[in-house]
Each structure stands twice: as C-alpha cells, then as structure tokens.
Symmetry: C2
Subunit: 128 residues, 2 copies
C-alpha cells in the first residue's frame, strides 16, 4: 500500500504522502481551497467565509498554499489595497481527491459517531 510497486518501500513513497497530508491536513488549508473552488476571493472576504480562522492563521495558510503553487496571490495597488486569491490548475486538481474525502466524511460520519459513542461508553464502564 502507498507504493508504486509490490515491494515494500516505506520511507520513499510514504514520506511524500505525509508531506501532502501535512499540507492538506492542517486546520484551514482545505477549507480555504474549498472556498476558492467556486471563485477567487479577497482576504477579508475569505476570512469571513471560512469562519473561525484568525487573521494570522489565514495569512499563514495562504502563504503556504501559495508557496506550494496551489493558489495565486494578485495584488492590486489601490486605495484601499486589494489582494485576490485564486486557485491554480494544480490547486484545482487537488480539489478532486479532497472532494472524494469530503464525500466519505459526509457519508460515514453517522457511523463514526455511533462507534465513537459506543467506545466511550465501554471506557467509562470499565473505569467504573
């Protein structure tokens, strides 16, 4: 699993996946990518849209995504200044597998929640 060939090559392929998941798996990245899936957005517009993200974290998230070539940052020097963020082709392509994962989440969340409650019940029963 996670290997191109049948041989066992953990550190090579798996590190790449870990790397991508470090990018996608953080608290805000996919939410931002999801928002930008529809259209390009400005900073504060994005900030209000994502809801819960702090200014600092949005900035850091956007920087990271820009660094990885997933979004573009377009500055329009005017007063007031205007900065637009937009998905690149690469970012848009990432949207596909992320949507798959989102679908899995929606589909199986009830099951997970039930399992979670059952597990917690067992644990408290053992402790008592």
């Amino acid at each position: 699993m996670f290997d191109t060939d049948t041989a066992h090559r953990p550190t090579n392929e798996c590190l790449k996946i870990t790397e991508v998941l470090a990018r996608v798996g953080d608290k805000w990245s996919i939410l931002v990518i999801g928002r930008l899936g529809d259209r390009s957005m400005r900073f504060n517009e994005l900030r209000r849209s994502v809801e819960g993200v702090s200014q600092r974290m949005l900035t850091l998230t956007l920087r990271g995504l820009e660094r990885d070539g997933l979004i573009t940052r377009t500055v329009t020097s005017s007063i007031p200044p205007r900065v637009d963020y937009e998905l690149t082709g690469l970012g848009r392509s990432l949207l596909v597998p992320v949507e798959q994962l989102a679908r899995w989440a929606q589909e199986h969340r009830p099951t997970v929640e039930i399992a979670r409650r059952e597990f917690d019940l067992k644990m408290t029963a053992d402790t008592v």
Copy 2:
C-alpha cells in the same frame, strides 16, 4: 463546495469534513491505516513497520482509530500477550479516498517542489 445543496451552509457540512481531516490528517493515522490495508498486524510489528512512530503515539493513534470504528483491537491473552489490529469495513472504505489523495501526492509532488523552490528564491531575493 463542500455543501450538498447550492446554498451556502458552511458550518454544517464543513465541520464534518474538518472532523474527518482531524482524524486522517494527523501525523500517523493514514500511515497506520495504509499498513493495515494489506493485512492485520500486531503492535510492535506495526511499530517497526511505520518507522519513526513512538510507542506512545502509536498507542494513541490506534486508540483513536479504534474509537472511530476504523480498526478493531483483538487481544489474545497468552504469554507473551498478543494484540492484533485490523481494518474494519469502515476503515477499508476510507482507504479508497485516501489512496486517491496518495496518488495525487505522488503525481504532483515534483510540481509542488518546484513551486516551493521558486517561491523561496523570490522571498530570499526580496529580503536581500
């Protein structure tokens, strides 16, 4: 995006996704799931297999996955004791979208790395 209907309903659907990504996005979960994709494994076997994971984190990761119903934990009371971990049907179903993401990672990693290097160069150029 991330909504079932066209209306804008961020906090409902998006929170679910965030939840799943919190589960999948942490450092070890998918690696463990990936390893268990082939076959069930014992604790230390898994520990050696994942490579880099500490005993503590493997324990915590396995507990989390078990709690969410993604893996089962089977204890065989013997000397020495034996505990086997195995993917559930739910866990196996999660493997599908995760593989998609893994494929994206493998496919686009070179592009990301180039973008990353370019970005870093620009930054250092600006600073200097």
